[in-house]
């Protein structure tokens, strides 16, 4: 199978993720979309690793996973604490950071 197809898939996933981040209001869903974008990137990295015949891309994919895991921990904690104080998980309700 032509490895370039994986790249198309990766782009598709990334686009879905980006659209989700921009469109959805629920913080959890937005968060999942971010994960989707990260994983789309991982797929692209692995594909390029395969195409070029070296392991750099795979190594970076592991890094990405580590960062994503850490981010999930922090992000979910924030979302939970926001939900506790504001009784809402909508990202549009948390709009106090403005002039």
């Amino acid at each position: 199978m032509n490895p370039v197809n994986y790249l198309y898939l990766s782009a598709l996933l990334f686009t879905i993720g980006a659209a989700g981040v921009l469109i959805r209001r629920n913080a959890i869903v937005v968060f999942m979309c971010v994960e989707l974008m990260l994983n789309a990137c991982n797929l692209a990295f692995v594909t390029f690793s395969r195409l070029h015949g070296n392991l750099d891309g795979q190594i970076i994919a592991f890094f990405t996973m580590v960062v994503a895991a850490a981010e999930v921990v922090v992000g979910l904690a924030i979302i939970v604490s926001i939900y506790r104080t504001r009784h809402s998980a909508s990202v549009d309700d948390a709009n106090l950071m403005k002039l």
Partner: protein
């Protein structure tokens, strides 16, 4: 002998230094130190004069180079002195009359607790004035010129606790400043055109100037005239002299009669080479002189303040000198001759006025004098001799010097000569009128004495010997100086090597001029007698005609200055302030406001919605990626 020239200036300068820094310790002796050093300076002057008389005419000029003041490549300012016949005349007048006035001030200022300081200023004035007339270049002359201005400021405002004196001092200083600017511009022009400001370098080059240089010489002439107008109180810079009478009377005698105001005449005579080469500037000089001699005389007629009447007279007499100096080689010698005789009789008149004030509780209004001749016999006689000298009574000093000027004015030739000559004759008539008026109102008629503000009745008495002796000496000068100078044309021969002299072709003979001056003299005196001697003088000034009222206000000179200069200046500053507020501040504030407005719009972007930030991030990333790809493709 050359060293003596430096010492001549150093002596009064030393006195000023000692007296102004010595502090209270010198309060008891200060006036004696000051007077002694003035007399020392006079003694040096006499020694130098005797030495000069002993030499041949060609070798009379002494020069003495002391040091280089500003040693810059291409700009060498020297401290050097040049003593020739012209400087010598001035040096004798300054130190001689100056010493007499020092002596007079011992008596006049006896009760003033700041007497030491007064003598310090007087010495400072002498030093500056000597520097002015002895300098061998314009740069050093300028230093003396400014020094004289400073000393005059300090002395006019000596009684600074009186607001009027403080204001008068400031007025004199500021008006003089205008003239000083003329002098400094003239010197700068001189330097850029001829590359030097030493008399010895500039004058030969002026004579050879042609084309644009010639135009510059005319410009220099005008600038020097402006300077002379400031220092010598000539129209249009005359307004300070009347107010300067706020100073103590010896100051009025020294500065505003005998010496400082003659600095302008000195400057023009010294720069004769420049004026001879610039006929247009000369015309301006004679015009200024002729206008001022009538202006001052008319003002003198209307003043009831004895010192201000004399101030008007000073202005008028200096006008004669300036006019004579503007006539060129036919007039220079007579300008200086009149200057010297005027120095004697005007100083004498002022000292007499001071003596009268001294006896009358410092009253200056002549309408409150009267019948003083028997109470102050010495003052009366010396003042009277000064009076006869100034109106040109035959045989006295003023007769010889003023007649010569009138004759020279006619000798200018053409219509100009007739106009100038008639102006000078008319001036002589008015002089006779106002001086007779002063004389009658002060010494003759009824007693019109009034108690002063504190209710003290005046008890007129003769002044102490320190005051009367200088007056007597000056009276001798008033009587004999002119005659001595005229024996065998001694004064003309003395000054001719420096200023040059030519006998003009007068369309009117000497005898006619003399007869003319006699006629106008008699008319002036008779008119004054008819108005003030024949009937009693009212104690309160009558309203008077339009001209009288204008003359009382110094012919509206202050009003003119106020309307044209003060108001004009106010309008100028107001419009500049408006411009500053609208244009400069407008640009500055406008920039700030537009930046503020723009950022106000821009901050709406910070709406707090995470998703919109995400959009901008995505857009930015897309933009960067697109740009990168585009660069690749290219």
């Amino acid at each position: 002998m050359e060293t003596l020239i430096g010492l001549l200036v150093a002596a009064p300068l030393l006195g000023a230094g000692i007296l102004l820094t010595g502090g209270r310790r010198l309060d008891r002796t200060g006036h004696l130190i000051g007077t002694l050093l003035a007399l020392v300076s006079f003694a040096f002057a006499v020694v130098l004069f005797a030495d000069m008389l002993g030499k041949d005419t060609a070798q009379r000029t002494l020069t003495s180079h002391l040091w280089t003041w500003v040693p810059v490549e291409g700009f060498q300012a020297q401290v050097g002195f040049q003593l020739d016949q012209l400087s010598m005349t001035f040096v004798l007048l300054i130190t001689g009359v100056g010493s007499l006035i020092h002596i007079y001030s011992i008596g006049y200022m006896a009760h003033d607790e700041r007497r030491r300081r007064f003598f310090g200023y007087l010495n400072l004035f002498l030093a500056a004035m000597l520097l002015l007339v002895l300098a061998d270049n314009y740069f050093l002359l300028y230093a003396g010129w400014e020094g004289v201005g400073l000393a005059s400021y300090l002395l006019i405002g000596f009684w600074q606790h009186k607001p009027s004196a403080a204001t008068a001092a400031k007025k004199a200083f500021i008006v003089n400043r205008v003239g000083d600017i003329g002098l400094s511009i003239g010197i700068m022009l001189m330097f850029t055109t001829f590359g030097s400001f030493a008399f010895a370098d500039v004058f030969p080059k002026v004579a050879q100037a042609s084309g644009t240089q010639h135009a510059t010489v005319t410009g220099i002439g005008f600038m020097l005239l402006l300077a002379a107008c400031g220092k010598s109180a000539q129209v249009p810079l005359q307004s300070w002299l009347g107010d300067a009478m706020e100073g103590p009377t010896p100051v009025s005698a020294l500065i505003h009669a005998a010496t400082m105001v003659t600095a302008g005449v000195y400057l023009i005579t010294r720069s004769s080479a420049i004026f001879n080469a610039a006929p247009d500037a000369q015309t301006a000089v004679v015009t200024v002189g002729a206008v001022t001699l009538l202006f001052g005389a008319i003002v003198g007629c209307a003043k009831d303040d004895i010192k201000k009447a004399l101030a008007g007279s000073t202005m008028s007499q200096i006008g004669y000198m300036i006019m004579a100096a503007g006539l060129g080689p036919i007039g220079y010698v007579f300008a200086i001759m009149h200057l010297v005789t005027h120095g004697f009789f005007k100083a004498g008149l002022f000292l007499g006025a001071g003596s009268v004030m001294h006896g009358m509780n410092d009253e200056v209004d002549m309408r409150r004098y009267g019948a003083l001749r028997s109470y102050m016999p010495i003052t009366f006689v010396t003042f009277g001799l000064g009076y006869l000298a100034i109106i040109g009574f035959p045989g006295l000093s003023g007769f010889f010097s003023k007649d010569k000027i009138i004759e020279a004015a006619f000798a200018k030739g053409g219509g100009e000569g007739w106009i100038l000559g008639s102006a000078a004759l008319l001036g002589a008539a008015i002089t006779a009128f106002y001086m007779t008026r002063v004389m009658i109102m002060t010494f003759f008629g009824e007693k019109r004495w009034q108690p002063d503000a504190e209710g003290h009745e005046p008890h007129p008495h003769e002044s102490p010997a320190t005051m009367t002796v200088p007056m007597i000496v000056l009276a001798f000068g008033s009587v004999f100086a002119g005659g001595l100078f005229s024996i065998n044309s001694a004064f003309v021969k003395w000054l001719e090597p420096v200023t040059g002299h030519s006998e003009g072709n007068s369309p009117v003979s000497t005898a006619t001029v003399t007869a003319g001056t006699m006629v106008v003299l008699v008319v002036g005196v008779a008119l004054a007698w008819a108005m003030y001697g024949r009937r009693p003088v009212p104690a309160v000034a009558p309203r008077g005609s339009l001209l009288t009222r204008a003359a009382r206000r110094d012919l509206l000179q202050d009003d003119f200055n106020h309307v044209v200069l003060v108001r004009g200046g106010e309008h100028l500053t107001r419009s500049l302030v408006y411009l500053d507020h609208s244009l400069v501040d407008g640009v500055v504030n406008g920039t700030a406001a537009s930046v503020g407005g723009l950022s106000g719009r821009l901050r709406r972007v910070q709406n707090g919605y995470v998703r919109s930030y995400a959009v901008s991030m995505l857009g930015g990333t897309a933009l960067v990626v697109a740009a990168t790809l585009l660069m690749r493709a290219v």
